[in-house]
Amino acid sequence: MALLEVNNLKKYFPIKKGILSRTVGQVQAVDGVSFTLKKGETLGLVGESGCGKTTVGRSILRLIEPTSGQVTFNGQNLLRLEREELRKVRASLQIIFQDPFSSLDPRMNVGQIIAEPIRNHLKISKSEMRNQVAYLMERVGLHPEQMSRYPHEFSGGQRQRIGIARALALNPLAVICDEPVSALDVSIQAQVINLLAQLQEQMNLSYLFIAHDLSIVEHISDRVAVMYLGRIVELATDRELYQNPMHPYTQALLSAVPIPDPEIRKKKILLQGDVPSPINPPSGCAFHTRCPERKEICSREEPIFQNIGADHWVACHLM
């Protein structure tokens, strides 16, 4: 059974104007997203900026209140829970944020930051707490002697380790990683990715790994979902998706990734124009305005997200 099941999740942000703040439109940030996350698995969620991937991650935890849909985690529908129940669930469903500079409170020292979730959920003595924090710091490759230092004394990579230690403080079952390495230099990225992979093995964690970098997502994920304008357009195992992409958007996206090998000359599919606005998404298939293979039906009818075999799901009229 899936650990986390997301069903037809939607999040529309209202656009308010005028002195009466009347709603004049909606940003359809997430528009019917469904997927499952199994125990111990990493599901990659990729897409370009503005496709709604971060909103999906935050809606699952209800850091943003979703408009509709279902999120089942460990048998409980999170969207129906009361505040107190939700707080308890969040102990086992954690998040790591993108920006290691703004996601740590500058007025708390590292010990306090890592201890905060423990203090919120468990009643343990001061010395036990200290030991627990020291243990967590060691686990993520920080020196426990630095417990009383403040976030500004750490580099970007170290701050991300603090964020990881905080997320792991309560032994969660799953962690939503929202662009955890995109603010870091390449050599530091490798350190953090290795750490995440190692922790996953040791603790049998599930990751929802949200990122825009396709090489990193391929590296860490077991399955990958590709998002475009608030919807998942393709979902498959990492191998299948990267070797046999079916959706024209996935094909273009993959072909655009520069390959760090000067001997390989890849043919790029250059998409025309920019991603359309999610305020007024195109009719039918949202990708039809940029699709090199569009047909007449694409602007009329929305394609169905269907299984084309071997757990490979695509939403495209060409299938």
């Binding site: 370009e48 900026s49 580099s155 990579g157 230099d185 390449v186 050599s187 530091i188 990225q189 490798a190 350190q191 990715i193 290795n194 992979a197 825009h212 396709l214 090489s215 990193i216 391929e218 590296h219 860490i220 990492d238 990267y242 070797q243 273009a252 996206l253 993959l254 072909s255 655009a256 990734v257 520069p258 390959i259 760090p260 090998d261 000067p262 001997e263 390989i264 790029k268 250059l270 998409l271 124009g273 920019d274 991603v275």
Partner: protein, 327 residues
């Protein structure tokens, strides 16, 4: 490609320091490299290694003081550092232009796009207002902005990130420069937009036969765009090589580490899930390590690396490495 004998740009022993209240920061510390006409040279390294400061020093876009630039920057044989304010203004945007990393902040928000592009043509080509505006529209058309006539009258906030970067390129190319310094031109953009911008730069470069110095930390872009690479670490050049050689046979442990630390699509089966790491972080320029600057992070470190600064060893033309392992 056979290169002409004299380089278009020669940088010799460039030092750029910043005198701050906390002490002197040696951001660029004895850098030299050449750029030939029509070539694309890659300048690689992580943040804080001095790549951007090198580019800003070439065009003297740093306020002095606190900055202090020393060395020689020979452009077609003339030392740019000997020029006065007026002299360097004649070069800037005309012979050498720059594309900045942040398309969101490097355009003036209160000037129409057309006006910003026309500015250089008015100053350097002595065009009239109307001529320069027409020229600006033409440049926007060339960088493939749809509806260039009406777009030129808009302000930057109406442009998307990709379009702003195109406008920046139009501005940089408007006087047909011999050399373009492109500082992370696509880092802030999504991959599909990045691919558009890169293919556009490649095409325009060939059309104008300009040289490009492409500054980036993205080794994928390096592999696709450039013919020769200079790798920098903590303010110094650590390795230079033609692009294919650099990827096939990186000599400096830092270059090896950089190449090993990036995930490559389709390579997971061979290499496993563990990426090669470079331990530690880039040292602060206020406290650069003694000896080889990379030694605290180097997996091949020897005793003498901690005391002795490695010499630059020339292995072949445009093939050099600064490492005691090669000495």
């Amino acid at each position: 490609m056979s290169e002409p004998a004299t380089p278009l740009l020669e940088i010799k022993d460039l030092h750029t320091r910043f005198h701050t209240l906390d002490g002197t920061v040696n951001a660029v510390d004895g850098v030299d490299f050449d750029v030939y006409q029509g070539e694309t040279l890659g300048l690689v390294g992580e943040s804080g290694c001095g790549k951007s400061v090198t580019a800003l020093s070439i065009l003297q876009l740093l306020r002095c003081p606190p900055a202090e630039i020393q060395g020689r920057i020979l452009f077609e044989g003339n030392n740019l550092l000997d020029l006065d304010r007026e002299g360097i203004r004649k070069i800037r945007g005309n012979e050498i232009s720059m594309i900045f990393q942040e398309p969101m902040t490097s355009l003036n928000p209160v000037l129409r796009i057309g006006e910003q592009i026309a500015e250089a043509a008015k100053i350097h080509k002595r065009m009239t207002r109307q001529e320069a505006w027409r020229w600006a529209v033409e440049m926007l058309r060339m960088v493939q902005i749809p509806g260039p006539g009406s777009r030129s009258k808009q302000y930057p906030h109406k442009f998307s990130g990709g379009m702003r970067q195109r406008a920046m390129i139009a501005m940089a190319l408007s006087c047909n420069p011999r050399l373009i310094l492109a500082d992370e031109p696509s880092t802030a953009l999504d991959v599909t937009i990045q691919a558009q911008i890169m293919s556009l730069m490649q095409k325009l470069k060939e059309e104008f036969n300009s040289a490009i110095v492409l500054i980036t930390h993205d080794l994928g872009i390096i592999a696709e765009m450039v013919s020769r690479v200079v790798v920098m670490y903590a303010g110094k050049v650590v390795e230079e090589a033609p692009v294919k050689e650099l990827f096939k046979d990186p000599r400096h442990p830092y270059t090896q580490g950089l190449l090993g630390s990036i995930p490559v699509i389709g390579r997971k089966e061979q290499t496993g899930r563990r990426l090669q790491e470079i331990p530690g972080i880039v040292p602060s320029p206020m406290e650069t390590p003694l000896g080889c600057r990379f030694h605290p992070r180097c997996h091949k470190v020897m005793n003498r690396c901690q005391e002795q600064e490695p010499p630059m060893i020339h292995l072949a033309e445009h093939r050099r490495v600064s490492c005691l392992l090669e000495a």
